[in-house]
Amino acid sequence: MPLQPTIGLEVHAELSTKSKMFCSCANEFGAPPDSHTCPVCLGLPGSLPVPNRQAVESVIRTGLALGCHVAERCRFARKNYFYPDLAKNFQISQYDEPLTHDGHIDLEGEGQPVRIRIRRAHLEEDTGKNIHLSDGHTLVEYNRCGVPLMEVVTEPDFRTAEHVREYLYTLRSILQYLGVSSADMEKGQMRCEPTINWIDPDTGERTPKVEIKNLNSIKSVYEAVKYELARQKRAAAMGEEELVQETRRWDEAKLVTATMRLKETADDYMYFPEPDLAPLAPEPEWIEEIRASLPELPRARAQRLVVDYGLPAYDAGVLTETRDLADYFEAVAAAVPDAKLASNWVMGDVRAWLNQEGGDISTLPLAPTALSELVSLVAAGTINNTTAKDVFAKMIAEGKGAQEIVEAEGLAQISDTGELERLVERAIADNPKIVEDYRGGKRKAIGALVGAVMKATRGQANAGLVNKLLKKKLG
């Protein structure tokens, strides 16, 4: 049997709590350097940690959403290593007793569902940031030090880069739906470290494990895993280079991985139970309360959109990528007669605008009711799609309602049969050559005649009606 790839993921997500993990400093991105620090998160002598209940709740929420078991009793542990961004030179994390464990995420795969087992989702604190200056000095900034961090670890269940990518999109949207993390990899709110090697299914022999770092988007994770799978396969099959246990760095510019650090021996972090914190024992009532408050998750919501609105699965998938987008769509769809039309607009023009502006749905200056108004005008045939696109742009630019713009600018479609009949007759009279072609069997020639009518009405004619009238006149 050929070698099989095995890929496991460690994902870190910064939790969007009000305060830090073990102190009352604000958990806020982008504040002036070191402005959110105190004796506790600076690790000053004598300071002590007090756990943040909201962070514990966030991990329990996530664990429950991933089908994990919530530990009746678990512990924080110290992970000891020296590094300047770590104020105490140890990180409070969890080791052999994680808060939640043994869950899963089901992927769509390529038509063939794939189950990725979740080994654990636990709680720890983030480190500060080292800032390397061009003069060789390094500054350390501690605003991030002590921010609550959740680590979600999978079993090595992935076989392809595509599965890794789908997993990350799915996990991201679950975290966003749960409201526990913004989970934006570009902003470092979600970080991912894949571990990749190959196994010979016959002998059970494995190639050395390689971990990849410096991945700043889901796309780079995908590219890096794809690259690394290929590199390792070539190496294993052709013996081009020797595979070693190592950490490799993804080079975003060259699109390759390169050795960062060899791991001749396993790291020894000298974990031991955190003596400053009692064991954590979430009350069963609290866990049930959290379970009862779980929101509808993306997959379930997508399935519901298909059933409730008759949307294609593809539309439902796109619309449920974020909770806010799905909320927006449902608000629009509630007030229009044609949900598919609403979906076309949200997936089309709305998302195009968001992509162009680089914002999320909350930045769209158009309330769902405003878009409903526009979609309803299209559905009723009052304006056609081309006109509607212009109206959409004007609504955003001028902040006016769709109806208001259509009326003020006289954009309503011409559906008056009398007027259209006159224009159709003129188009036939002005284009004898085309009429001849049409009658001679070139049925497509009718398009040119429709175009002539549309031109005469500056696009406002009801194209469907024009088509019908032309066919009637031409016999």
Partner: protein, 486 residues
């Protein structure tokens, strides 16, 4: 007027009756410190200006008829292990020689709320590691009963200051005996409360699961008063207990009638100086005369306390002390360094003294992969067994009695080269920390002019029963009236 010999409660009484002012109390103590400090060397730092200012504020408030806490104006001294805002806190270490904390430890804040002027910061073994205060990076403190001898440790500065009359009471910390042993050697009262009774926030950690803050005083009443001042829940310490502490002075006065005491055989065994042992047994007889029922009790696992402690404490210490790396504060090497790790190791090698380096290395070793299960995990199991020995004993007894220290104060330098001999000084006190229990030492006599202390061990939150025994004994014997002649 000579005020420095008065007890804290006598001072409080005189202040309330306006027999003297807080300013006078503070000034008299400061001048006494000046007079004796050359020999005692209990203080690393005195804070006369702020002490006087705090005293003046108390006097003004009293003159204005404001309600004041009962001990307002009675001065106190803090072990230099407590963070004091704006006041240098060294932990007896070169590595924190110039460290000025931006915040107060909770116990410091509670003393401030109680309006106790702070006389200064007292000497200690570096990072509270030691039993003689000789491990201080800065000075050697003398025992007020014989300045050639050690005051015990690690809170030797606080103990010596109180014994020498430099302060009516003081605070220290106790990880394996660091309050009780120096209290015993200096002939005063010292108590390590139940783990969790007093906040550790702002108290520089040695071994987090064992450290506890407690009072030194020359009599049991003052000890109860200071304990009441610092005890109670603190939201900044996740290991501090939430239930409110009782009125310790009222509890203390309830008498000894009906109390039962056990004598753990293992704490009277090998290594206890025979003269110390007979002094303790005489005190035990006295307690029996006072109506306390006394029996011998076996606690077989207590014999393993010392090795158990020297696995757990260094392990926690190696991690707790990792933060002193020369990056953010504290000593940074002046030598050229090749990289950040070189900066770490040079700064730490220069900043820490030999005993601290030894314990960090010991702890790093026992936490390492391959050794963790054999040492650390096993030590935790032994700790559980020791605790269950105590649990069983306390099903029958209200308190346990033993010597506090196996010997009286030894000569300065006598055990400095024998780390094992030095560590045996805590053989009777360490089990109490491992079990998280309260323990106190009360003066119970003298051997060749040197004080002997009896240890009273309580059940969890059994400080009231301990204080009843201690107070009953003190009332009967009056040892506290005998003072060191300086």
């Amino acid at each position: 007027m000579q005020l420095h010999g008065l007890s804290a409660h006598e001072l409080a009484h005189g202040l309330a009756a306006r027999e003297f002012s807080a300013r006078e109390v503070v000034e008299d103590h400061l001048s006494h410190i000046k007079a004796v400090e050359d020999g005692v060397q209990a203080f690393l730092l005195t804070t006369p200006e702020t002490a006087c200012a705090e005293a003046d504020a108390v006097d003004q408030a009293r003159a204005a008829g404001e309600d004041l806490p009962p001990l307002a104006g009675v001065p106190v001294a803090h072990k230099d292990l407590f963070c004091t805002r704006g006041v240098r806190t060294t932990c007896g270490s070169r590595i924190l020689e110039d460290f000025v904390p931006p915040y107060d430890a909770t116990v410091v804040a509670r003393c401030r709320e109680a309006r106790l002027p702070v006389l200064g910061k007292t000497n200690m073994d570096e990072f509270a590691m030691g039993s003689s205060t000789e491990n201080s990076a800065f000075q050697v403190t003398g025992n007020p009963w014989d300045l050639e001898r050690v005051p015990g440790g690690s809170s030797g500065g606080s103990a010596a200051a109180v014994a020498a009359g430099e302060a009516p009471f003081a605070l220290g910390t106790d990880t394996g005996g660091s309050i009780r042993q120096p209290a015993s050697l200096c002939g005063i009262v010292g108590m390590k409360p139940t783990y969790g009774r007093v906040s550790r926030y702002g108290v520089v950690a040695y071994a987090s699961s064992l450290d506890q803050v407690g009072p030194f005083a020359r009599n049991v009443t003052d000890c109860a008063l200071l304990l009441g001042t610092i005890a109670g829940h603190d939201t900044m310490d996740a290991t501090s207990v939430t239930d409110a502490p009782p009125d310790y002075v009222a509890e203390m006065r309830r008498g000894v009638d009906g109390l039962r005491a056990g004598l753990p055989k293992e704490l009277f065994g090998e290594g206890i100086d025979p003269a110390v042992k007979s002094t303790i047994l005489a005190a035990v007889d006295k307690l029996a005369n006072l109506g306390i029922e006394i029996e011998e009790v076996e606690m077989p696992h207590v014999d393993y306390s010392l090795p158990c402690y020297y696995i757990i404490a260094p392990a926690e210490c190696s991690s707790n002390l990792a933060r002193y790396d020369g990056v953010r504060y504290g000593h940074r090497t002046a030598e050229p360094v090749s990289d950040i790790y070189d900066l770490f190791s040079k700064s730490r090698a220069e900043g820490f003294g030999p005993e601290v380096r030894l314990r960090i290395m010991l702890g790093t070793y026992t936490l390492s992969a391959g050794y963790y299960d054999a040492y650390y995990v096993k030590a935790l199991k032994v700790r559980t067994l020791i605790k269950s020995d105590f649990d069983r004993a306390f099903e029958k007894y209200d308190v346990l009695l033993s010597p506090t220290s196996p010997t009286t104060a030894f000569k300065i330098g006598e055990k400095a080269d024998d780390p094992l001999e030095m560590k045996l000084a805590d053989i009777c006190t360490i089990p109490v920390n491992l079990a998280g229990l309260p323990g106190m030492s009360v003066p119970c006599g003298f051997v060749e002019g040197l004080p002997v202390g009896m240890q009273i061990i309580g059940k969890p939150f059994g400080e009231p029963e301990m204080l009843r025994v201690a107070y009953g004994y003190e009332q009967a014997m009056g040892w506290e009236r005998r003072r060191a002649a300086l």
